[in-house]
Amino acid sequence: MFNFNKPRHQLSNDYSDGLRLNDLKPGEIGRVLEIGGSEQFRLRLIEMGLTKDTEVCVDKFAPLRDPMELIVRGYHLSIRGQDAQKIAVERIN
């Protein structure tokens, strides 16, 4: 029987030890390569516009360092560092 549910998505080997979204500093822009983590988390991010190849600017970190604020597709979005760690990016500036 085909399994329709994919509970977790492992980052592919190409990115598994590369740069992550939470490694970027405020003001830096990254391009999304792949998003890992639970199915629900991935889809929520994708719905919010954080799809593959999207450019993301890290705007700032909260006063207690977590969560972080991003600018995606012209609006502001906030996610936690532990989740940003599941997003492989390449720095583009």
Partner: protein
């Protein structure tokens, strides 16, 4: 004709604003069946056609992950509204149109509303609405919901689209990459062959490739369903091999691709370096160093304004209630009914009505925080801390609201997405010390710790927070194990709030409290009145009227003795120097004697009044002890004795279960000064002091008051929001247990270490 229209859109895109602009004041707020998601409906008439409008919950997608998404989707599919009005935020088009691409596939006639055009213009976005309309296959109307610009045109368009219903204007399809289209075709062909006339073939095939569970379950029930699902599985595998990702991700990615393509054709950015004021403000308000102090300052201001400004109309309401009680008791003859009306209903509800200004003030400030967009920043700033208890930063908002009143705060947990988060927040919310507990603190702390009342009261608030955090940690490690939803929060731009929206929000929440007064509190007050009124005949051991007569007799005797003594002294001193009475009365000798006499007389009469008063207090106490309420208190006395409480405190706590404020009026009744007391009442304070309560017992009484179930209305709200009796009963049991444990701790350790003695 009568048409159904549904308003759909992302959270915060201005749905409610447009809904209000369309329907005016004629609206009804309720719940969707079975779930605690608000359901707003209203109507309006346009050119003799009637429109029933429903405001669907704000969602980012129709994936049916959350209750809101499921509701919106079910409504659109099953109820088939005549027109779907899709509100999109023109200043944030790309993300907003993602939902639109899904709505298009549902195939209902649509009108797309470009709201917040003012903000888009400010950002320098020029949007070609006609081209966008062609690309999306539905009329696009630019409006400014806030000022109402464009609403008339929108109404006209809705009417036109509704009437053209019969023309079957077929909207466009979102086109996907060729490989996906090929798979969609295969699934669609099988679906069409299954012969289900009513099925939206395109929508269903897309959802199948997105591995949508609900759609799969529906298809399985169709004729040839299994074959369709087999094809689906093959298609998904094929797509995953090609695109190296799951079908859902690939399709969502394609939707964004479609949107980007469309926007390239109809949006021009004229001000590439327009100043983003909102971002500048945010630089300060969520600043690394200043963010938290500014937040603390706002919280402090919120309390200051709530309680200082709120206390002004409090006095008016209080005098109003007293006036009403006096008028009615003067107009009605002494009877059970008069007592029920005056002491039970008006007195009980009136004691709580005085908190209305505080509560409305608090809700007004919360509305300001929400409408300006600062609430989202509260979640942003506080997430680190709330995450510790296993909660989302947004959960901080109902926690603050709990300081005002737990009932709307518990209702406010609806802003949280996952059921687990909601239940956890509901369970710890009652520990946030609501404003109804304040009068109890003021009374008891004022009576026993007049020097340090403020410190004692403040520590109650802190203890409440500690109890909430501790319990939150405990629950998230035990009964509510599991992950909280991923934190994905939009931070909308800051906005200047409109008065209309502030008033509306304040009223909606405040009204819930008024409802509570009219129902639970009214019934509770009458019940407590009845427990204190019956049985009407009581046998007292002491004969109070005889004792009173005795006191009066002694007083009369003392007074005449004193007067006789005075007279004889006057006679004696007069005969020494003066022959005439008139002459003598002007002398200093007489003055002195007279002053002495007057002083003694006054103190005698004061002592007499006090004696009568304390006799009266004892009598009322004795009578109450015989009433049902006292008997119940007696039953619980042995249980609460280890906490240092007598039957009086146990009665007060029992009545406090109905509403905490009632604790104060219960003490009023118990000490014979009537139910309508305020916190500074000297009779109650002296009564409390002379009742044998120790300062230590007073402290444990405060702790108990803070921690046990706040009121019946809160219980009702918990039941409503958790949906089960088991969590409701658990909440009552847990908070009673914790209250008992900590109050006992205070009494026990206080005794050992000799605190407060």
């Amino acid at each position: 004709m009568r048409y159904n229209i549904a308003i759909a859109g992302n959270p915060n895109c201005g749905k409610t604003t447009i809904f209000n602009a369309l329907t005016g004041a004629r609206q009804h707020v309720g719940n969707w069946p079975g779930v605690t998601v608000e359901r707003k409906s209203g109507k309006y008439t346009q050119a003799e056609h009637k429109f029933d409008v429903i405001d669907l919950p704000g969602t980012y997608s129709l994936a049916a992950f959350s209750a809101e998404e499921t509701i919106a989707r079910q409504y659109l599919i099953n109820d088939k509204p005549d027109v779907v009005v899709n509100i999109v935020d023109a200043s944030n088009l790309e993300r907003n149109l993602f939902l639109t691409t899904q709505l298009i596939e549902l195939g209902r006639p649509m009108v797309i509303v470009l709201n917040m055009m003012d903000m888009a213009t400010e950002k320098g976005l020029e949007i070609d609405a006609d081209t966008l309309a062609t690309l999306l296959g539905a009329p696009v109307i630019p409006v400014v919901g806030r000022s109402g610009a464009g609403i008339d045109l929108l109404k006209e368009k809705i009417l036109r689209v509704a009437r053209e219903l019969s023309l079957k204007s077929r909207p466009i399809d979102i086109t996907y990459p060729r490989d996906i289209e090929a798979e969609l075709e295969q699934v669609s062909a099988l679906l069409t062959a299954s012969g289900d006339e009513n099925r939206l073939v395109r929508w269903t095939s897309v959802k199948l490739l997105e591995s949508d569970k609900q759609t799969r379950d529906e298809v399985r029930a169709l004729k040839g369903g299994e074959a369709i699902l087999e094809q689906t599985a093959r298609s998904i595998e094929h797509i995953e091999r090609l695109f190296k990702d799951v079908g859902r991700a690939v399709i969502s990615h394609a939707r964004y691709g479609f949107i980007q393509g469309a926007l390239r054709e109809c949006v021009v950015e004229t001000l590439p370096d327009a100043v983003d004021y909102s971002r500048r403000v945010d630089r300060l308000l969520t600043n690394r160093w200043l963010g938290l102090p500014i937040f603390a300052l706002f919280m402090w201001l919120m309390f200051k304004v709530t309680f200082d400004l709120g206390s002004i109309p409090m006095g008016w309401i209080d005098s109003g209630v007293v006036f009403l009680m006096n008028v009615i008791s003067a107009a009605l003859p002494q009877s059970m009914f008069a007592s029920l009306l005056v002491d039970g209903a008006i007195g009980g509800v009136g004691a709580i009505a005085v908190f209305l200004p505080n509560i409305f003030m608090l809700f007004f400030i919360i509305a300001i925080l929400e409408d300006t967009g600062y609430m989202a920043r509260v979640a942003f700033i506080m997430d680190r801390i709330m995450h510790n208890i296993g909660l989302h930063g947004k959960a901080f908002i109902p926690m603050i609201m709990g300081f005002g009143c737990n009932v709307p705060a518990i209702m406010g947990t609806r802003i949280l997405e996952s059921r687990r988060d909601r239940i956890l927040t509901v369970l710890i919310n009652p520990f946030m010390s609501c404003s109804a507990r304040l009068p109890v603190y003021v009374l008891v702390a004022g009576a026993f710790f007049p020097e340090n009342a403020a410190t004692v009261i403040f520590s109650m608030y802190i203890l409440g927070i500690v109890a909430a955090i501790g319990s939150g940690k405990l629950f998230s490690k035990t009964i509510l194990k599991g992950m909280s939803k991923p934190f994905v929060l939009e931070l909308p731009p800051y906005q200047r709030p409109t008065l209309r929206s502030l008033v509306l929000h304040t009223w909606e929440r405040g009204f819930l409290f008024i409802q509570k007064m009219g129902t639970v509190i009214l019934v509770g007050s009458v019940l407590i009145w009845a427990l204190g009124y019956f049985p009407t005949q009581v046998d007292l051991e002491r004969d109070y009227s005889a004792e009173r007569a005795q006191v009066n007799q002694v007083y009369d005797q003392d007074l005449s003795d004193l007067t006789a003594k005075f007279k004889s002294s006057v006679q004696a001193s007069k005969s020494v120097y003066h022959s005439e009475m008139v002459e003598y009365k002007a002398s200093s000798g007489y003055q002195e004697l007279n002053d002495q006499y007057q002083t003694l007389r006054t103190s005698l009469s004061e002592a007499h009044t006090n004696q009568l008063y304390s006799l009266r207090q004892q009598e009322v106490g004795d009578i109450t002890e015989q009433k049902w309420i006292g008997r119940i208190g007696k039953v619980f006395e042995p249980i609460v004795a280890p906490l240092g409480f007598s039957w009086r405190e146990s009665v007060a706590l029992i009545t406090g279960f109905v509403a905490k404020e009632i604790v104060v009026s219960t003490f009023g009744v118990l000490f014979g000064v009537g139910a309508n007391v305020d916190e500074g009442n000297l009779g109650v304070i002296s009564g409390l002091r002379s009742s044998g309560m120790t300062p230590l017992a007073a402290l444990s009484f405060l702790v108990f008051t803070l921690l046990y179930t706040p009121c019946l209305a809160t219980v009702a709200a918990i039941k409503r929001e958790t949906g089960t009796w088991s969590y409701t009963l658990f909440s009552i049991g847990y908070s009673l247990g914790l209250a008992y444990l900590l109050a006992f701790g205070v009494q026990y350790f206080g005794g050992i270490f000799n605190w407060l003695s």
